[in-house]
Amino acid sequence: MADFWKRFCRNRGAVIGITILAVVVLVAVLAPLVFPQSPWRMVQRPFLPPFSMEQYPLGTDALGRNVMSGLAYGAQVSLLVGLVSTVAALLIGIPIGALAGYFGGWIDDALMRFTEFFQTVPSFALAIVLVAIFEPSIQSIIAAIAIVSWPPVARLVRGEVLSLRSREYIEAAILSGQTSAAIILRQVLPNTLSPIIVLASLMVATAILLESSLSFLGLGDPNMMSWGYMIGAARTVIRQAWWLSFFPGVAILLTVLALNLIGEGLNDALNPRLARRGK
């Protein structure tokens, strides 16, 4: 573990990434303490420019709501959706990939055709349709993102399992009479963990972008303040009030950037052999 941490920290980008992410997590956790009032509440005159009042450093929006408070609560939504939808996508993708890779044959064929289908359908358009039909809510958004983002997981796990399948220790496990389920869970999957972790960190980033895009189009959870919603609501007043779309966008950019940097750092730290190549 210490060794892993040392390798991770050798990547300067990864350290920057984890610092930014730590700040975002802190903001999300502290939001209700620092801003006890709802972010939907009017607090000042509308369109208060940023840096003009100390109490509202990022100004107010078209309805006089505090932009700073919106950003803080928005961090909660982004992190929540990013994390939960990625876990959900892993829960769909890992079993499908593991079964396809382990059993091969027609099971593999059928599962991979199924996966291919979901890879062909344009993911963002499908997410829009799913959220619109099942009514926008935090649950439907998470479900839609999970449904469009599991295929890469399945393909990755399948590939890893295929390459492990013919190893001697797996054959030994089969001969010793272990059930397939036990072999997959105890022998195969633990060895596929590091690429899955790397992929998952990048998926959280993509999920945050997806959620913000859906909210931007008006498909966000109507009860939760999110960064995408803030930009979407500010779209029509961009000429009068640039700050309303500028700051939430920077927040999204930094968070997604941080996660991507962390993903690269994890990749270097977990696959040191790969990292050295091509550098």
Binding site: G13, E116, F117, Q119, T120, V121, P122, S123, F124, A125, L126, I128, V129, L130, A132, I133, F134, E135, A205, L209, S212, S213, F216, L217, G218, L219, G228, I231, R235, I238, R239, W242, S245, F246, P248, G249, I252, L253, L254, V256, L257, N260, L261, R277, G278, K279
Partner: protein, 322 residues
Amino acid sequence: MLRFILMRLGKAAVILIAIMTLNFFLIHAAPGDPAAVMAGEAGAADAKFIAQLREQFGLDKPLLTQLGIYLKGVLQFDLGFSYRQQMPVAQLILDRLPATLLLTMTAFVISLVLGTFAGVLASARVGKWSDTAISSLALLFYATPLYWAALMAVLVFSVYFNWLPGFGYETVGANHTGLARLLDIGRHLILPATTLGLFFMAVYMRMTRASMLEVSQLDFVKTARAKGLKRSIIQRRHIFRNAMLPVVTLAGLQAGQLVGGAVLTETVFAWPGIGRLMFEALAQRDYNLLLGVFFVSAAMVLLFNLITDILYRFVDPRIRVA
């Protein structure tokens, strides 16, 4: 070769039917009884009229029969009727399709050309500051929300500097014709196409750079160096050609995702394509139209993939032989 194309066509047809089936069930899952909605739009929501509509559109038949009717309809370009816009969905989409094709194709070309160019440049100067600059920029584009980049581009280039139009497809009321009209559309195209392409540019840049570096380690490149060939020739003929194969594959797969991104770009720039149409359908809860656009964009992706697959057979002789 012919056998391969036929097989690919068959596979695409199967996926198309799967997409149509998915679409059918999604329409059924949509809130509101279609007959009641239709009757409501017609302003006569009494039970007898609803029952009559239900019979007329086959909504009283078993689900599988309805699916059959639906599939037959789609194959005849019947995607249903948009009661909000009082037009057949297929007609609405067909009217808007050219604008989207123009936007996505331009964005695709811009991102592929600039992305691979930057990738090659970075790989040739690996570890130097220009590589760091290009790679950092790509990382930044990769993390930027597409619609936000579009809004910021409007703010900078059209509101602040007033260089480029940030709204619409052509100047309203200008009534340009011929070349003047083309130039006008071209000017309107710059911002939407560039912002739509940013993310994909970053993807292609990273892919090209990694692929170039990987190929440059291979034995045949060492041989070429040992033969004393010029560096630029090795770069161009040996490394670049081989490095482009995975980039082309990826580009073909990603071309479809551009259609999804177009929903965001077209919304910001009021570009009259099917992405904007999807946004309008969302705002009006027009599910027939929404799913019609979804079906067409999925079909477009399928077509893109098919073309890439077939092109790939021509580009890579190894696959052709195998």
